[in-house]
């Protein structure tokens, strides 16, 4: 069953340097119990795309078009009052820096209880009991004691778990995690990923996982969407995209990763392949393929001038189509 259906999402931001096309026609869907990873580097528009869904962009400078149906209801045209109701029980959010999501002067318990009571007729005592349960569920030791502590008394990993507990407090059907583990150590990241996977298995939550880390994607995602210059340049199942990347950008990104799994031919580690240059500014996107200025392939005359559509890659295998927006799609296994 489809939880979220995003169609042709576009975000324009007014900036002092002119209008910025930050998200340009993004479409994807998230099913029950499914994890969709949105991958991209800074400035790719991946974070803005979810802020737009949640109505968290400044209305004065942002224009959002397209459709985003959550259980058939369009988030983008929803009145603010209804959207606020949806945010808790419909969508839970976890952002990169747990410190900014938590109010430093309120106890953990107070913040959790507030969230629980905002979306239902619950007595204070019941809400507190539920809060303690949640903290236990996300693996915090001593949940009752933690309720009375302040955010600064917890470590980064514990804080992020609290944020997840708050996000889950109204059992949302969709969880959006924006670089939720980026600031954490790998061992803590492993704990958090474990936690999310377990919750997903238990409650059938759909997850949109936004990250730049392809390793995390490989572990957690069912489907992957690679963003560049505000466009989706490649999507498909995680195996298709990561093992048989079709877009030169995806291939470049994978080649740029030092790989712990396949290293050293006796001591000599080959150089990483790099993507030259830097991503384009959203105020000044190239007219053709967004990746053209940095692309090492450019084997088609249309590259520079014509925008390639997201087309199914020849050797698409899985149940889901493997698509790439490039004129130069080659089905080359990663080497």
């Amino acid at each position: 069953m489809t939880l979220l259906e995003v169609e042709d999402l576009r975000v324009r931001l007014r900036t002092p340097r002119g209008p910025a096309a930050v998200v340009n026609g993004l479409s994807y869907s998230v099913g029950e119990g499914e994890t969709v990873a949105v991958v991209g580097e800074s400035g790719s528009g991946k974070s803005v795309s979810v802020l737009a869904l949640l109505g968290l962009l400044p209305a004065r400078s942002a224009t959002v078009t397209g459709r985003a149906l959550l259980h058939g209801e369009d988030l983008l045209t929803m009145p603010p009052e209804r959207l606020r109701q949806v945010r808790g029980p419909g969508i839970g959010m976890v952002f990169q820096d747990p410190m900014t999501s938590l109010n430093p002067v309120l106890t953990i318990g107070r913040q959790l209880v507030e969230g629980i009571r905002a979306h239902g007729e619950v007595s204070k005592a019941d809400a507190r009991r539920r809060a303690a349960e949640l903290l236990g569920e996300v693996g915090l030791p001593d949940p009752r004691g933690t309720l009375d502590r302040y955010p600064h008394e917890l470590s980064g990993g514990m804080r992020q778990r609290v944020v997840i507990a708050i996000a889950l407090s109204n059992s949302p059907s969709l969880l959006i995690a924006d670089e939720a583990t980026t600031a954490l150590d790998v061992t803590v990241q492993a704990q958090i990923i474990d936690l999310v996977e377990r919750l997903q298995a238990d409650h059938g939550t759909g997850v949109v996982w936004i990250t730049h880390d392809l390793g995390v994607v490989a572990g957690i995602a069912d489907r992957v969407l690679v963003m560049y210059g505000g466009r989706c340049v490649e999507d498909g199942t995680v195996d298709d995209v990561l093992e048989h990347p079709a877009h030169p950008y995806t291939r470049g990104l994978l080649g740029a990763l030092p790989d712990l799994a396949a290293p050293a031919v006796d001591g000599e580690v080959p150089d990483l392949t790099t993507v030259p240059g830097v991503p384009p500014a959203p105020t000044d996107l190239p007219p053709g393929c967004v990746f053209w200025p940095r692309c090492p392939v450019r084997s088609d005359p249309r590259c520079e001038t014509q925008q390639p559509p997201l087309a199914v890659v020849a050797a698409s295998t899985g149940v889901l189509p493997h698509r790439a927006a490039t004129w130069c799609a080659e089905e080359a296994p990663r080497g």
């Binding site: 492993a190 880390d213 490989a218 093992e243 740029a256 990763l257 030092p258 712990l260």
Partner: protein, 344 residues
């Protein structure tokens, strides 16, 4: 080639701490670096990994005396760094460069790239003369892959990767023997990280640099290093050839750390056994007695709280040592009157 350039013996960096909150003003000690013995060989790249708060950054700074050590010694090319007077220390800095994490913070926003890169030249009176220095700055910028024409620009005109190159050029300006990279790629985008990693590797080979590459990113460390040292709570717990530490880690902490690093291969990632450690890293102000890792170690047994493990040879590779009682109980028994017992 066993020629040691930088060597630490029993290095300690302790910070006094005051407990927060009213009425709890008891002073404690934060053991950021707590007894590190380390030899960095001439011309090698040593990777130093560990999680946040393990003291790896403090160790890097203490080796260059940018943070004053509170105990132990550091020698640089036979010179005892810890006992040098300020002037001699400043002179020695020409021979050691440092690249910092945040390329947005490590360049003075009010100084041009040329001014920043030529600072070491001015400080040490190298390449005297305006023209010579300008030329040298141009060479340095080319060396790190920047157009010399950008010398007159200010940092805010550059991207993160470009700024990090400027930072590397500054660190290399004095033609150092030793370069410390403190999380030098942590704030960069993946594709830019690769550019900087390649650059560092090339520079290291070309200039015969001795490189200390400090990072929390095991994949990057594995990629660039000849040897890897793993740090936990102020101590080095395992050190050995990169291939050995990367493929056959002998200390349970290193094993957990490696298993937690996600790799971009879906099939492998699904089948891999991830060792998920329980709990959090204890505070360096309250270090467990004996083995520091025992509060989270899945294999903890009797001697762990009572004997402080010493580094001992482990595994098949020569030169591979780890501090773990699973390979034989070696170390200093804990005197219980002074050990801080935090239980388990």
């Amino acid at each position: 080639m066993d020629d040691v350039l930088v060597s630490a013996r029993g290095l300690e960096v302790h910070f006094p701490v005051r407990a927060k909150g009213v009425g709890r003003r008891t002073a404690g000690v934060l053991r950021a670096v707590d007894g590190v013995d380390l030899d960095i060989r001439r011309g090698e790249t040593l990777g130093l990994v560990g999680e946040s708060g393990c003291g790896k950054s403090t160790l890097g700074n203490a080796l260059l005396r940018l943070v004053p050590p509170t105990g132990g010694t550091v020698t640089f090319d036979g010179i005892d760094v810890t006992s040098l007077d300020r002037r001699r220390m400043r002179q020695l800095r020409r021979r050691a460069g440092m690249v910092f994490q945040d390329p947005f913070a490590s360049l003075d926003p009010r100084r041009t790239v040329a001014q920043t890169v030529s600072e070491p030249l001015e400080v040490h009176g190298l390449h005297g003369g305006r023209r010579e220095r300008a030329q040298r700055v141009g060479e340095l910028l080319e060396l790190v892959g920047l157009d010399p024409a950008v010398a007159g620009r200010y940092p805010h005109e550059f991207s993160g990767g470009q700024r990090q190159r400027v930072g590397i050029a500054r660190a290399l300006a004095g033609e150092p023997d030793f370069l410390v990279c403190d999380e030098a790629i942590a704030s960069l985008d993946v594709s830019v990280q690769a550019q900087v990693l390649n650059l560092l590797r090339r520079l290291q080979r070309r200039l015969g640099l001795t490189l200390l590459f400090i990072s929390h990113d095991l994949s990057a460390v594995r990629h660039i290093s000849d040897r890897i040292a793993v740090m936990y709570l102020g101590r080095i717990v395992e050190i050995g050839p990169a291939s050995a530490v990367g493929a056959e880690p002998q200390m349970p902490y290193t094993q957990a750390l490696l298993s937690a690093v996600p790799v971009p291969h879906p099939a492998l990632e699904r089948s891999r056994r991830r060792i998920v450690l329980g709990g959090d890293v204890p505070s360096p102000a309250n270090v467990p007695s004996g083995c520091r890792f025992r509060t989270r170690c899945p294999y903890v047994f009797e001697p762990c709280p009572d004997v402080d493990p010493a580094l001992q040879p482990v595994g098949a590779a020569p030169d591979h040592v780890a501090a773990c009682h699973l390979h034989g109980v070696v170390g200093t028994p804990v005197r219980h009157d002074e050990g801080v017992d935090v239980g388990s």
